[in-house]
Structure formats: C-alpha cells, structure tokens
C-alpha cells in the first residue's frame, strides 16, 4: 500500500536543481533508505515533504490526500515527522522532558496551563516506554545538553518517534557516531519499524548500514531518482556501483 507519493516534484536554488521532477514512492510499513552523493537532493526532498521548504511545482500525496499546501503543523497532525541531520534538541530540558513534550504536543496538551506536567500519568508512562525502546531510560534526568553525541542522535530520533507518526524521516541518524552506536541506533529504529508501528525513510551515507537494514533503497543523483529496489537489486545495478565508486555512468 502506498503511503506517500510525490508527483513531478521540483525545487530549484538558483542554478541548482535540487529536485528535478521527482516521483518518489514510499510503501506502508517499509524501511526505506534514501541514498546518493552529497548534493544529490535527498535532504531537499525530505525538506519538501516535511514542509521545511516550498516546492516550485509538483504535488505531494500522503495517504491519497494532497498535502502540498499544508503547513508544518498540519503535516505533523497528518502523521509525518522527522529528525534532523544536525541534532536538534531542547538542550535546557531533561531527556525525559524532551520526549514528554513530544507526547504533550501530539495530544494537544501543550495548551494546558493550569495543570502540572508532572501529574500526567498517561504521558509519563508513555515517555518511559519510548525511553525504554530507545535505551535512554537511565539518562532520563540528564539535560539533553549533557548527553554524548550518539545518545543525542538517539534522542533526536526518539523525539520524532514519540509523535507516533505514520511516516518518519530520519536525516542521517548515524552520522558522527561510533560504529557501536550506529548499530544501536539502527537496531532500535529497525525494530520499531518492524513492530509495525511506523514507516521509516532514512537518509544515509553508510552503505553497510543501508544494505543491512533496508527493505528498499532509493538512490538520488543530481535531483533525480536513479535507482529503486531491494538491497540485492541495487547491489547488482552497475550504474549505482559506478556512482558509488565515482566512475562515469553507462551511456
């Protein structure tokens, strides 16, 4: 079942065509990796889908609804969330509060001004659950600023996940972390997806990670979709190999 589809999506920055007629498809429940060299347009595509950018032309369809005109808040409500390449956390709040806030926001409870956040047992329970899933439970009372880089990345993903989106975009969730932490992050994300709760699209550069965890791989090059298939299919694709190795494309 198709969860998200873009129709001829275009975005240009001056001379650069970040997205040049992209028809991107995401199926429900899959773990999709979006790959390509730097500047291929991956982050731009994600930015367009999450309303961080406005497209020049084209459409974005989510669950068959046209969301092209929707604001960030509306898309979040519709079920799209993202984490960031450069970790984007609430440094002054504790790990616990970072997640709790996501949940409060999702539930529309941030307008509650006369109730103590502390006393909301439902939110507390769910926060603990998410923290457990991401292995951050014992860091609950630490301020986000005090975490190690790998943990910050995990928290970044967890905050987006706590919105319980239908579609979760992760922008380079393993960049800047050690190999051990990479495995931890990807194992967690992967298991959460497998549990059937969320569809994940991951922008990734580490091809080992990509091949190990993805159901499907989509490759972008110079603003266009170049290849699309399972890890085995992609491995067999000569053009892809050439791009990855830096050799010219076959004519």
């Amino acid at each position: 079942m198709i969860l998200l589809r873009t129709v001829d999506l275009r975005k240009q920055f001056g001379e650069t065509r970040a997205c040049d007629g992209v028809n991107f498809v995401v199926n429900k429940g899959e773990f999709l990796s979006l790959v390509g060299s730097n500047g291929a347009g991956k982050t731009s595509l994600v930015n367009l889908i999450t309303a961080h950018l406005k497209p020049d032309s084209g459409q974005i369809l989510f669950e068959d609804h046209d969301i092209t005109r929707m604001t960030v808040a509306q898309r979040i409500k519709a079920g799209i969330a993202r984490s960031f390449q450069i970790v984007n956390l609430f440094d002054g709040l504790t790990v616990f509060d970072n997640i709790a806030l996501s949940i409060f926001s999702r539930e529309g409870k941030t307008v509650q001004i006369a109730a103590l956040a502390d006393h909301d047992d439902e939110v507390r329970r769910e926060t603990l659950e998410v923290l457990g899933q991401f292995g951050l439970r014992d860091k609950s009372s630490v301020t986000a600023a005090g975490l190690a880089q790998g943990e910050r990345k995990l928290l970044d993903v967890a905050v987006a996940y706590a919105l319980r989106p239908k579609l979760l975009f992760l922008d380079e969730p393993t960049s800047g972390v050690s190999t051990g932490e990479k495995a931890q992050i990807m194992d967690t994300v992967s298991s959460v997806v497998r549990a059937g709760t969320v569809t994940a699209v991951v922008i990734e550069h580490d091809m080992d990670v990509v091949f190990r965890y993805s159901d499907r791989i989509v490759m972008m090059h110079e603003g266009r979709l170049l290849a699309d298939g399972t890890p085995d299919e992609i491995k067999a694709d000569k053009d892809v190999a050439n791009i990855l190795l830096g050799a010219p494309l076959s004519a």
């Binding site: 609430f90 926001s105 999702r106």
Partner: protein
Amino acid sequence: MNPVARRSKVPLLAASALALLVLAVLPSFIGLYQTQLLTYGLIAAIAALGFNLLLGYTGLLSFGHSAFFGIGAYAVAFLARDFGVRSMEVYILIGLPVTALLSALFGYISVRHTRIFFGILTLALSQVLYSLTYKWFWVTGGSDGLRVPRPTLLAGFMEFVGAGSFQRFLNAYYYYVLVVFAICVMIMWVIVHSPFGMALQAIRDNETRAAFLGIRIRRFRWIAFLISGTFTGLAGILWVPLNGLTTPEILYWPFSGEIVFTALLGGFRAFTGPIVGGIVFTYLKTYAVATTEYWQMLLGVVLVLLVLVLPTGIVGALSRLTASLRRRKP
C-alpha cells in the same frame, strides 16, 4: 518532570510554608520603615516574576516592561481621581483587565519578531506610552503625576483614617501584598511546571524543533507575553497606593532596565531568581540612591559585572555553591 515517580511535593511545600511564615512574622521584628521597604520588595518580586516568564522561560528579553507597571499604576490613579474608587479590590479587579489588554496589544505587535528587534520594539512601545503620558498632561497630570489616596482593604472593611492610621495602613498593607504575592508565586509556579510551560522552554531552546513538534510558536509567545505583562501590571497596581503618587518616571526606559536588572541579579534561569532579585534590589536601590546621585551608572556597572562574573545571578551562584559543598561530603 521526575522520571521514575512523581516527585514528592512535600519538601517544596514545607520550604515555602517556612518562607511564608518568616515573611509573616518579620514585621514584628524589623520596624515600620523596614516593613514598608519589604512591601516594596515583594511588589518588585511580583514584577520580576512576571518579567522572567518571558526571559527565563520563553527566551525573550523585553526592554519595555515599565509600560505594564505604569499602566497598572495609572489605571488605579484614574479610578481614584475620576471615579472616586477607594477599594483596593476594585483597583485590582479593573486594573488587571486593563493591563492585560495592553499586554495583549503590545505582545501581538512584538512577538512577531525575536531577539534584538523584539527588544527594541518593546522599548519603543513603552517610549510611546511614556511620551503620551508626559505630553497629555491634562489627562495624566504630566510630570507632576497623579496622587492616589489611601485605599480601603477587604472590600471597604478596613479603612485607615485618624490617628496612627499611617502605621496601621503600612502593617495591614504589608500582609495584603504578602497574600497577593503568595498567590502570584503559586500561579506562576503552576504555569511554568505545566505542559504549556514546558512548551515555552522548548521554544526558548530550539524554535525550529518546537515548530516541528507542532507547537504554535507565535501564539504561545503571545500568551506568555500577556501573562508576563499582567503580572507586572499587578505589581504596578499594588505599588501606587503605597507610594501615594504615580509619575511618568515609572514608564521611562530606565525603569524597564531596573526590572531587567532584578531578574539578572536574582538569576533568570531559576524560578526563585526573580523573587530574590526583586527583594534584594529594592534594598540595594534604596541605599544606592541615598549614597550617590549617579546611581544609574552604578546600576549599569553592576549589570555589566553581573553578566561578566555572575551570569546565573544570586540563586544560580548559591545553588552551585551548595552543589559543590554537597560533593565535598564524604
């Protein structure tokens, strides 16, 4: 928010009750003049508490809070002069919505911007109010200001006339302000510990991420501004019956600077910071003004020193001290 179990509120309640008790008993020990000073201190604490909702919790530095203090004060003065009102309760009941209205308006204009533009905008708006108050002297009494007679407390039940009335008023008014102060502290405490308060801090820490959680940034900032201005306005309402007089001076920009200073002095990252700052500042100012004519320069120098040396203010320094002492214990 405490992760594992709901943090017991008992220690906090006990400490607050103790503090309240101390404040309640103090007048019997410190004499009339000091009681009056302390009343001013509590009023300053309320103003600072309101101000810090914007600075400490929402990350917006306003240089124009004198506007709200002033509107509160002048509202009382107008009620007294034009409507013959004497009841403190009526002052508050009518003065609060008036300040809320002004805060809503100024807030709506200001929160469209951040940082320096926000600061300058708040400064500019308070200057407009100041110059209008100064110019329209036939309405506001101009630089002479307006006198405000002694109010009645508790819906007219307590009147202060005749021999010894001044002393009786000062004593009674202290407790009146203390009660209002306690209520303000409780309300503000709930606000900053609510989901709304958490959202404000998120906006302060990372506006982009907060937006990506679906939080409506501008609206929340506006509400924070509204609450902040109203608190400071309440301080103005409480201030003028004690002072007996209101002049345009309290709308002038240095007064906004004083409010900023109190928050910084106490520590704007802590809840109790503005309270401590407000009370301490009132004492410092009284003695500084008595000592030198150029106390504004002194204020500026201390402000710069604070930012350089003690950016977390008194409360911040104290908590670091206790933390390091605790670590030393075997």
